[in-house]
């Protein structure tokens, strides 16, 4: 895909998508002059098919679909190195967040479903318990990803070391968290928030 010839026209450039990314991230993609500093420092670029600078370039060319089709955005560790070092104040870490949200909303053409699954379970835990319940997080991930044996040896060790709690109590005011989730859903339905 990365070496395929790219034809640019009004039809192939999805400017609306890029505008959404800019609105969500609060960062311009046009400011980037492709110095590559972001990718040079990115600890995850070796795992990505489009390193950070190329993601910005693709966005400049209105090629959001190409970005979403790959796994790059799910291999970003949110370490903020790119944002910290960009000479043009492009908030790439913020752009990565925005891209992930758009992919998530579309229920992801992304190939990186393990990361999405982990995120989904993590957020579910917040909604159900108010806090993370790490044992449940790990167990649910292994069940749903079909990796029953993964970290099997680590589990008992962590429990015996007191690192994984067997039981978990809900927050007393868990209702307030549910209310926050509901209000955000409401706002989005009414178009008051992205």
């Amino acid at each position: 895909m990365k070496n395929k010839l790219m034809h640019l026209s009004n039809e192939t450039m999805n400017v609306g998508f890029v505008k959404k990314v800019e609105a969500l991230s609060g960062s311009s993609v046009r400011r980037c002059f492709q110095c590559g500093k972001c990718s040079a420092g990115c600890p995850m670029s070796a795992f990505m098919e489009h390193p950070p600078n190329r993601i910005v370039r693709l966005l400049q060319l209105g090629q959001g679909q190409r970005v979403l089709a790959g796994r790059s955005i799910w291999y970003c560790a949110s370490c903020e190195t790119c944002t910290t070092r960009c000479p043009n104040k492009v908030d790439l870490a913020g752009i990565m967040d925005a891209l992930r949200k758009l992919s998530w909303d579309a229920d992801g053409p992304s190939k990186e479903s393990y990361v999405q699954l982990a995120n989904r379970l993590f957020i579910e835990n917040i909604r159900t318990y108010g806090r993370q319940y790490e044992l449940r997080l790990g167990a649910a991930f292994n069940m749903k990803s079909g990796q029953f044996l993964k970290d099997l040896m680590l589990g008992p060790k962590l429990i015996s070391k007191g690192k994984l709690k067997m039981f978990h109590s809900k927050n007393k005011n868990i209702g307030e968290i549910e209310a926050i989730f509901k209000r955000i859903e409401e706002m989005r339905k009414k178009g008051e928030a992205l």
């Binding site: 609060g26 600890p43 949110s78 967040d97 949200k101 806090r131 993964k150 070391k161 955000i184």
Partner: protein, 317 residues
Amino acid sequence: MTPGKKRLNYSYYPGCSLHASGREYDISTRALFKALNVGLKEVPDWFCCGATPAHNVDELLSLSLCAKNLSLAEQVEGDLAVACAACFSRLKTTQHHLKEDEEKRKQVETAIAGPAALDKPVKHILEILAREFGLSKLEESVKKPLLGLKVASYYGCLLTRPPEVPELDDCEDPSIMEDILRALGAEPVKWSHRMECCGANFTLSRPGVVLKLSNAILESARLAGADCIMVACPLCHGNLDIRQKEIKDAYGAPDSTLFGNIFGSELQQGAPKDQRDLPVFYITQLAALAMGVPSGNLGFESVITDPKPLLREKQLL
């Protein structure tokens, strides 16, 4: 305490990890603050800050969860002390964003049905120790200096980046951890990987990534002659401590005894890799140890890479 000077008091947001996989960070933080006679009071009914997963896919949710926590923290007097680097980063980021973006602030305040406490100072315990309590006072309080302990300070990603958010230290060449170590009598080593990412939250979904990145960090610390690593984040600790054995299994010593035998010890190009265990300490464990807190109160029993042999060797136990 100097007479006339008010005792330092903080509200405290431990975060989820410190109540579970990072419990020794919580235990040792409380022990250290007690030893220094600094007040620490937990925010009642705090929620998960959302950590990386929430902002990864839903920034509004992430900002709202943090704003809710900030308003809960208002109930407790004192600046908000945070030990987890990830929680610290999320809470500070929320304040920073909401101060800059009026529109977002309104959305968040609708979501939490109340005002966000944007002016509650949020402080990482590193800055509390080094700046508010103060390095010289810290040095004076030391009862058992950590003499001869060579420590690699590991900053990781979020303590200093992006610079305008945590405002903790230089974003490319920080020194706050080394400064604290010197005050404790330990010897900070110079090394290359103090700010390289450990793979953070890929520990669940993509452990292979964590093994690769964390291996490079451990290697670099060994190469610099460190006896151990010091961290200020439960995620970093998890990746470097819990997975250390797996990392060894995956990236263990190349079997090069043959070269060793042929070329003699000086010329061992592919010499067996240094495979020492590197205990990973939380800053608060080392600091509390130096303050004379008994090691039994610092959660060492919860650590996977046993630090006791090293501490015994250095006569710190």
